[in-house]
Symmetry: C2
Subunit: 413 residues, 2 copies
C-alpha cells in the first residue's frame, strides 16, 4: 500500500449529494424518500453500491440498517462507526441525513484512495427510518442499540397504515428486528455529521458546531375547559371562553422558556366546537420544552403546570425524552480538528433528536453540525452551502483519525 | 259566531311541542331536523295539517315556506304574520324556532276556538331553512322579503353538497325561488316569538324580552404570518411564531368588546403547519363583533384592525350584517301586553339573527323573547320552562290583538 494523507474528495462528495437528491426528487425541488418507499429503498441500494466501490464489505442487519465495513489493521479492535440516514420526511430537503451518510462514505473513500487502513475498522451505517414517518422515528438506530420496542410495530405510519406492514413490504421480518441489537463493546464509537436544522451557526457565521448533547424533550397535552355558547346572545360577563383562557398560557410557554434558557413551543391548538359564531368550549393544545439539563426542564415544567392549573386547565405530560450528553473525548476531538483545519467552531446543543441519541445506549457518541441556511429544514429549501458540506466531511475525517489514535482495543478510550 | 275572549290553550301548546320534538329526535335528547331532510319535511307537513285543523288555508310559496292564512273580517287589510321555523341545527334543541311556529299556531287556534276573526287576516309562517345548515341560513325569509341571492344556490350545505341539490330533492324549483318575494304592503306586520338563546332573562329572573332590534354582525378573517421552523433547533430569539403573535389579539377582541359594550368572539383558529415540534408559521382566525349601533361597531372595528395590523396580521372583513331595529309600535305593544298580563319584561337586543331580521325589508317587525335556561341553545339541553313557553304565546296573542286594533288598512300603522 502507498501511504499518503487521506483527503476528502470534495467534487465526488458534492456529486454524490446531487445523485442522491435525484432519487425521490419532488417537483418543488425537495426530496421524498419516506422510509421503505421505493425511492428510499433505491437510495439505500445506491449507497450500498457506493460502499462496495469504496472498499467496504456491506450487510443489512435484521432491522434493515445498511452497514459497510472497511477493515482495520489491528486485530481485536471494535469498529468506529460513522453514519446517519437517507430517508426523509415527505417533500423534505436534500441534506438532512444524506450528508452524514455521504460524508461518512467520503471518509472511507479517502482512506481507500490513500491506500490507508486505520487501527480500527471503520463502519459506515445508513440507519433505517430515522424520520418520524414510521411512528416515532429513529427505528433503525433504536433496534441496533437494543432499544427496540415491539409496540412500535403497531404504530401508525405517516400513511395511516401500521409500521409492521411497511416493514413486511420491505422484506424485513418483524419477528427478527430485535436481533439487530448489537452487544456492548461491539463498537468503539459512533460519530454523526448532520446539518444543524437551526439558524445558530449560519447567523453567527460559524462553520462547525461541536454538539455537546441532544436536548431532552418533554411534551404536554393541555386542555382548557370553557362553556360553548352562542357568540351573539351570551353577554361578555357570562362567558367561559376556553380560547381566552388559553391565550395567556401560549404567551407563558414562551416566557417560561426564555426565563429558563431553553426552548418552548405551542405547535398545535384545536378549538371546539370551532365555529365563528360559537364561543370556544374547549381548547386542546400541545406544549413542548427542550433543554440539555434535566433540573432546568423540571423547573420549567413546574412553572408551566402552575400556569395551566391556575387557568383551570388539565395539564398532562405526554412524553419525556431524557437529554443525552455527547462523549467528551469526541467533543474535544471535533474541536481539535477544527483548530487544525482553521475552521471556526462552537459548542452547542442539538435541539432535534438524531440516531446518535439512540446510539448513546450502545457506545460513546458525538455529533458534528454544519450550518443550515436560515435554519430551514424538512422542506425543499433546506440548504447547506457546498463548502460547508465539504468542511463538515473534513472535520468528520479528522475526528475519525483522532479517535482512531486515542481509543484502545476495549473501546474504553 | 260566538264571541268570547281568545285564550291560549296551554295544554295543547305543550303537547304540540312534545309532538314536534319527536320528529327527528336524537338519542342524545336533541332534535335533528336539518333543512330539507326527511325529518324536516315531515315536521313541515305536521305543522301544515295543524294549521288546517285550526281553520287556516295553507299554501307553500316557491321557496318552500309554509303559509297558513286565517281570514280577517275587514276587506282590504293586509295580513299580520306570526311565525318562525321548524328546521334545526344537527342535534339541536326542541325550542329554537319550533316554539315560535307552534305559539303562532296557538294564537290562531285561540281565535278559531273563540269563533273570533280579527280585522286583519292572520298568517302563520313556517319559514324554510333558517339555520345556517344551507349556507348562511334564513333562506326562506330572505326569499319572501325579496333578498334572495341566486349565489346562495351554489353555497355549500352542512353535508358539503350544494344548496341547490337539497332544494331539488325537496321538489323546489330553483329557478322559481325568487318569485317567493312578496310585494311591499302585502303584510301589515310580522311578529316572532323565540327563545332568547342567551342567559340574560334567565339570570335576571325576567319572563319576557321585548326585542329592540337584532344586532349587526361583522365578521373578520385575521391571518398572522410567522415562520414555520423546527421547535427544537430554533432559538427563542430567532423565532417568528404566528401563535405567539395571535394570542394577544385573542385577548384584545375580548377587551375591545367589553370597552365598547358589545360582544366579541374568536370562534375559530387554525395553526399551520400544526405539529407539536414545529413553530407555527401561520395562524388564521375568525373574529366577530355584534352590536345594535353601527357607530359603535365602526369604532370597535377600527380598534381591532389597529391591534391586528400592529401585530403584522392581515385583517379582512368577511361580512357585515347591519343592525335591524324593531318597529317601535310592536315593542310598545309587547310591553303593554306584559303589563296587562302582569309579566315582567325587559327591552333587550337580540344577539342572534332571525327570520324577523330579513322580514324587516318587507314589513314592520318585532320579536318577543322567553328565557333559555343557562342560555344554552343549538344543543340537546336547550330548555325553556313550560310556563315560559305559555307566557310567550300569551304575549304573542296580546301583541297580535293590539296590532290588529292599532294598524290601519294600508299597513302603515
Amino acid at each position: 500500500m502507498v501511504h499518503r494523507e487521506p483527503e476528502i474528495d470534495a467534487a465526488q462528495l458534492l456529486s454524490d449529494l446531487d445523485a442522491l437528491a435525484r432519487i425521490g426528487a419532488t417537483p418543488e425541488g425537495g426530496v421524498s424518500r419516506i422510509a421503505f418507499s421505493p425511492a428510499d429503498l433505491e437510495a439505500r441500494r445506491w449507497v450500498e453500491e457506493a460502499m462496495r466501490v469504496a472498499g467496504m464489505a456491506v450487510r443489512r442487519d435484521p432491522a434493515g440498517n445498511s452497514i459497510g465495513t472497511y477493515p482495520g489493521r489491528e486485530p481485536g479492535l471494535a469498529p468506529i462507526a460513522l453514519g446517519s440516514h437517507t430517508d426523509t420526511v415527505p417533500n423534505g430537503g436534500r441534506y438532512d441525513g444524506a450528508l452524514g451518510v455521504l460524508a461518512a462514505l467520503a471518509c472511507v473513500r479517502a482512506l481507500h484512495a490513500a491506500g490507508q487502513r486505520l487501527r480500527h475498522p471503520v463502519e459506515v451505517i445508513n440507519f433505517v427510518a430515522e424520520e418520524a414517518t414510521m411512528g416515532g422515528g429513529t427505528f433503525g438506530s433504536r433496534a441496533m442499540a437494543g432499544l427496540f420496542d415491539p409496540a412500535a410495530l403497531d404504530h401508525e405510519a405517516v400513511d395511516g397504515r401500521p409500521v409492521a406492514e411497511h416493514l413486511r413490504r420491505a422484506a424485513i421480518d418483524t419477528a427478527q428486528v430485535r436481533t439487530a441489537a448489537r452487544p456492548a463493546g461491539s463498537l468503539a464509537a459512533y460519530v454523526e455529521l448532520h446539518i444543524e436544522q437551526g439558524g445558530v451557526l449560519a447567523s453567527a457565521g460559524i462553520v462547525i458546531g461541536a454538539v455537546e448533547g441532544i436536548v431532552g424533550i418533554r411534551r404536554y397535552a393541555v386542555t382548557f375547559h370553557g362553556e360553548a355558547n352562542h357568540a351573539g346572545t351570551t353577554p361578555m360577563d357570562d362567558r367561559s371562553d376556553a380560547l381566552v383562557m388559553a391565550a395567556p398560557f401560549i404567551l407563558a410557554v414562551r416566557e417560561i422558556a426564555v426565563a429558563h434558557g431553553i426552548v418552548g413551543t405551542v405547535g398545535t391548538l384545536r378549538v371546539s366546537p370551532g365555529a365563528s359564531n360559537v364561543i370556544p368550549g374547549r381548547v386542546e393544545l400541545t406544549a413542548e420544552i427542550r433543554g440539555l439539563d434535566e433540573a432546568t426542564l423540571d423547573a420549567a415544567e413546574a412553572a408551566l403546570r402552575a400556569r395551566a392549573e391556575a387557568a383551570g386547565a388539565a395539564f398532562a405530560r405526554m412524553s419525556a425524552k431524557e437529554p443525552v450528553r455527547s462523549d467528551p473525548l469526541i467533543v474535544a476531538s471535533v474541536e481539535q480538528t477544527c483548530q487544525q483545519l482553521g475552521l471556526s467552531c462552537r459548542r452547542m446543543p442539538s435541539g432535534a433528536g438524531h440516531d446518535a441519541m439512540c446510539m448513546a445506549a450502545l457506545t460513546r457518541q458525538g455529533m458534528i453540525f454544519v450550518p443550515s441556511q436560515r435554519g430551514i429544514s424538512h422542506a425543499p429549501d433546506e440548504y447547506t452551502a457546498p463548502e460547508d458540506c465539504v468542511n463538515g466531511a473534513r472535520v468528520l475525517l479528522g475526528t475519525l483519525l483522532a479517535l482512531d489514535a486515542a481509543l484502545d482495543s476495549t473501546g474504553d478510550g
